[in-house]
Symmetry: C2
Subunit: 292 residues, 2 copies
Amino acid sequence: MKVGFLGPKATFTDIAVREMFPEEKAVPYLTIPDCFDALIEDEIDMAVVPLENALEGSVNITLDYLVHEVDIPIIGEVTCPIRQHLMVHPMNKDKWKEIGVVYSHSHALAQCHKFLHKELKGTPSEKTTSTAAAAQFVKESPDIIAGAIANELAATEYGLEIVQKDIHDVSYNHTRFIVLSKKKVRLHEEKSTYKGFKTTVMITLPSDRAGALHQVLSAFAWRKLNLSKIESRPMKTGLGNYFFIIDVDMKQDEVLIPGVVAELEALDCQVKILGSYPYFQIGSEKSRVQHL
Amino acid sequence: MKVGFLGPKATFTDIAVREMFPEEKAVPYLTIPDCFDALIEDEIDMAVVPLENALEGSVNITLDYLVHEVDIPIIGEVTCPIRQHLMVHPMNKDKWKEIGVVYSHSHALAQCHKFLHKELKGTPSEKTTSTAAAAQFVKESPDIIAGAIANELAATEYGLEIVQKDIHDVSYNHTRFIVLSKKKVRLHEEKSTYKGFKTTVMITLPSDRAGALHQVLSAFAWRKLNLSKIESRPMKTGLGNYFFIIDVDMKQDEVLIPGVVAELEALDCQVKILGSYPYFQIGSEKSRVQHL
């Protein structure tokens, strides 16, 4: 099977893909819409895209596609720690203090602000479209003493030397990636990275019934269904019109979730299940899902 | 008094400033953090920045500053319709069909995608840092037949000719701007644009008590306090840790809102009132606040 992902090779999304689908053919796409389009047109069997970062919040373009553009279920989720390293061309590995310019994605540069300020003060930085693109550029430019900020996979893929490890300012940064597919693909729940099952529900409230959101949450609360996320998004029909995306910390069943859906529809809400899927977590950091 | 705003001159923020503070000295800043910093350092008395757009959602950088960086109350809100026009240098006003390149902010180009596809198919576009910057560039380049997509104020300010009005694809696009100040500034509630009062509350849930969000909403619901917005944001302490920003559709009082705060604190929530302030709406479009 073919797995499309937000590329190029050796992005953090690629790390998620290699963890989940080590045997499948991975196909990089340059943008998130390109991934979705390839999935819609059956160029690929699955797509892996970022959904939420612990520091930056939701990836709006992914949410917008899920809600407005595609009708393809989420079949899995992977959380990946975001660890950034400083790397140089092997020819320059003893000269990293003399780096003349640092290349990386704007988010990665921001995430390593303190390190850059302390260790490479005054060194200019240049933004690239991804951390992997920065690594690729540095590999192709051995004649200038340039550094790239990227992940370990990028150092391996592009043959760079990591000269400073874990230079990101905040240690708890993670990104959640989702897997989408039209097909019923079985993900490997026996893996050690498997953490549980969740169900993602999109709910549109009836127009202007005060207290409707409280009623919605009541339908989950009295059944003791734990929510691990709620997010409001504008409906694109004007300010003050929102829909909600709610993650329920359980697998879709035959009784409780259908009961919630029936009750919410009776309250004039529109309800759509975006997927019920296993979630996985890469890395040994302590995992914690806060229940709302 | 000095009012800092997200500039340059003739941005949509500038339109909001002119509506709210026609008599005050307006000072443009190039970025939202620059506006906040100027306010913190008392270079300006008030700051006006965008908070939320009906199509794009919340402006993350504004929310982040409000929550993590500053302790300055919101004292007012203005909602402004987003109307985009195609404008050219007056020398080229009869040649707009021959435009060789269209300049604008990436959001504005996206908002006029259908128009550009239909009327100027194949014409390349160039992104600028704001719609106003596009207008300024076109004014300074009469020798090339270039178009700018910007608002009416930009056409007036930079002396351009509007050749196609209201070219945005979706008619209901609006942006909410907030006014921040350390001072007790009285806004003009007698104006026809005045629509009412709201109170914005930030709530952090106790860690991992399932159903806490439902309890929070109950504290508002049994008092029949109407909510017009709820937004969850990551806490920057890891995925799955969220705080909530809630808009209550009333002025802060001595009984009901203090009662909510006391109850929520008793439930181990952290509560901070970001402001209680009048809101205003520019433009004649029908105004509607959906209650949640």
